[in-house]
């Protein structure tokens, strides 16, 4: 039998292949749809990530450096107690008076965070007479709009969720540590027990149940404000915060990571 390679034959073979590929994609979609119906969801009923946009804001003027938030975060999220493992921590800034005759407006800036401020702060190393200004700054994941940590993850184990959190999937994390280096805020660490990267999850297991994150729950002075930008009630804490603090800033905004966590009354020395 003689087979000739005509234009008609080639076209027919090609169209067959394309049709085959298309039907494969269609069957996969169908499979996914069926699976989605069958798989039982753990999420608390009625929670739809696309209908929320969570945000944390911090009022620096209200933080008293008690460290309850750091402790609560560790308890709630099973964070190892060592001094290198924090999902949130508090920094103490001490700005000293300038040297007499130096012409400067401010002296040097001393920043410390003993054990993340978890057990409060011992008295400052700088004597009280030399302090020009001193304050506490709570730090946590800045919930970047274009998070560098999720961009560098080689396995898609960390990602920006539609509701504004940046999460780590511990099942997929291979512990390479790229994200820890990528975060310009130092908000990530390697969990020594699970050997996976960890970070503030905005207490995702709490906010999906309608609770506040643990740090916000225990903060005695309402220095930490938490709310949903998509459900704007007038008494929503975040709306009150935004109304009161029009000039709230985010940290290292010049890096282009789009940090969303807002700080009110932030001193320019804070990095």
């Amino acid at each position: 039998m003689k087979t000739t390679l005509t234009r008609r034959r080639i076209l027919r073979a090609l169209s067959g292949a394309v049709a085959g590929l298309l039907s494969l994609a269609a069957s996969r979609k169908a499979k996914a749809a069926v699976q989605k119906m069958l798989v039982a969801s753990h999420t608390p009923k009625g929670y739809d990530p696309t209908k929320h946009k969570w945000l944390m804001a911090l009022d620096v003027e209200r933080c008293i450096g008690c460290g309850l938030c750091v402790e609560a975060c560790k308890t709630e999220n099973n964070v190892p107690l060592g001094p290198n493992y924090f999902r949130t921590w508090i920094e103490r800034y001490v700005i000293t008076k300038p040297e007499p005759g130096s012409g400067e407006l401010r002296g040097e800036v001393v920043v410390d965070s003993p054990n993340g401020g978890m057990h409060g702060f011992p008295s400052s190393l700088v004597p009280k007479e030399q302090i020009l200004k001193s304050f506490y700054v709570p730090k946590l994941c800045n919930l970047c709009e274009h998070s560098p940590c999720s961009q560098v993850c080689p396995v898609g184990a960390t990602f920006d969720t539609p509701d504004g959190a940046v999460l780590v999937d511990p099942k997929y994390c291979i512990g390479c540590g790229f994200c820890i280096q990528a975060c310009p805020y130092g908000c990530r660490f390697m969990n020594p027990i699970t050997k996976t990267a960890e970070k503030c999850s905005l207490c995702y297991h709490r906010i999906t149940r309608g609770l506040k994150p643990a740090c916000v729950e225990v903060c005695p002075t309402e220095a930490r404000v938490f709310g949903d930008l998509k459900n704007q009630a007038p008494d929503d804490p975040i709306q009150r915060f935004l109304g009161k603090n029009k000039a709230a800033q985010s940290l290292k905004a010049h890096l282009g990571t789009g940090p969303r966590v807002l700080y009110a009354d932030l001193d320019k020395e804070v990095r």
Partner: protein, 151 residues
């Protein structure tokens, strides 16, 4: 007319390419998690898994279910912004089973916030615990739930 012939080495390459692409497609079809790509370049089920973790802090609403009297009284005084669990410790276990006691309070709970510190904002009432009525317990003069009142 001579028909064009595909050289055998090209044919072998073609077959090999088709085999590799087919094997890859089949493997990808079966190995990609079902929820991958639902919200983005990740497994959407991970959201549910993370949301399913148990909570440790119960939240003020849970306290209010049984201790509403205390919660309402607290709301009238200066400590109204202080959550129950800020001082009394984690409460989820206690909320589920009242027989599980919450943590006992000590003096350190008061000075943790109220010890004088130049870094603390001026609006906060602060004391130097080493000079402020040493030897007496805070609660001898102050009621934590009604801090404005001195008995």
């Amino acid at each position: 007319m001579q028909r064009p012939r595909i050289p055998p080495q090209i044919l072998r390459l073609l077959v090999l390419t088709i085999v590799i692409v087919t094997v890859y497609s089949i493997a990808r079809y079966f190995l990609t998690p079902q929820s991958f790509g639902m919200y983005g370049w990740y497994r959407a089920v991970a959201l549910d898994e993370i949301a399913a973790r148990p909570t440790t802090y119960a939240g003020r609403k849970a306290c209010d279910e049984c201790h509403s009297e205390v919660v309402q009284r607290l709301a009238k005084y200066e400590h109204k912004s202080v959550s129950c669990e800020s001082c009394h410790g984690v409460g989820q276990a206690h909320a589920e089973n009242p027989d599980v006691a919450v943590a006992k309070l000590t003096y350190s709970h008061c000075v943790r916030c109220h010890e004088a510190d130049p870094a603390r904002p001026k609006w906060l009432k602060q004391v130097k615990s080493k000079e402020h009525y040493t030897g007496q317990r805070c609660t001898e003069c102050h009621i934590p739930h009604q801090p404005n009142e001195v008995p």
